[in-house]
Symmetry: C2
Subunit: 139 residues, 2 copies
Amino acid sequence: MNTQTRYSISDLAREFDITTRSIRFYEDQGLLSPERRGQTRIYSRQDRVRLKLILRGKRLGFSLTECGELFELWDHSNSGSELQLRLMLTRITEKRQALEQQLRDIAMMQQELDGAEARCSEALNALVPTDTAAKPAQE
Amino acid sequence: MNTQTRYSISDLAREFDITTRSIRFYEDQGLLSPERRGQTRIYSRQDRVRLKLILRGKRLGFSLTECGELFELWDHSNSGSELQLRLMLTRITEKRQALEQQLRDIAMMQQELDGAEARCSEALNALVPTDTAAKPAQE
DNA sequence: AATCAAGTTTACGTTAACGTAAACATTCTT
DNA sequence: AAGAATGTTTACGTTAACGTAAACTTGATT
């Protein structure tokens, strides 16, 4: 079925369109720790989730180290001393602020793309009067 | 006043909290081309805007090459042949899709941070019954 | 038995984005 | 005039995130 429980390294590589080299590298950096059957790696559903989170982090421009920090937040968010917990809340807030900055950045970049697209379409309409240009709908 | 029109390299370095090395490197990569007074670089307001755009791109995880591609979109969005213009519209759409993917990624990561924060706060409340924990407002 | 596919370790190579240092020019200040 | 501050070019060094290749193991297949 669709709910598999164990994956080989090339299973994951295929699914996420990355190389096995990358997956082993992530393990080397401490972001994954699959079981071993003999010398062969066996990945659980949890490992798969971790990998998905890594790739999501990368799409947001996070370094592997930062991804690891997020995992720490996730993993130890229900244990540790009071001081540790308070420290984690602080870091969660920091990460959230970074994400909010990214939201602002995306909004501004979208506006710039809007502008560029408008100028592009206009230039096209000037070149090709037969309205072949890419305008959404009605005039 | 606040509306300066020329900047030295260290002006910009200070303002954006980067090194002069970085600024020269961006120029080396073709992302900036300030005037020269003798051998000294002089940056205009436009140059300053470009620099701001570079840093925004970097915060979104874009490479300098990708930033340069965005500048091309911006700069040539009102010129070029029909084919060129159509190609640019395509690439604008691609960039927009990447941004939308990032929006989705941010939303999911925010949810995970919410969860981690909730668990953290809960663990804290269990440790410190005197409600010193970080809960927003009323019980 | 031999070959083949998939996995493994080890290690050197590569690219992007700067850091760092040396050696020099220019301008301002003392 | 002699520093000191700010700028410049040139060039080698560094880190992250893999790519690539070699040499080997293991299980399945012919």
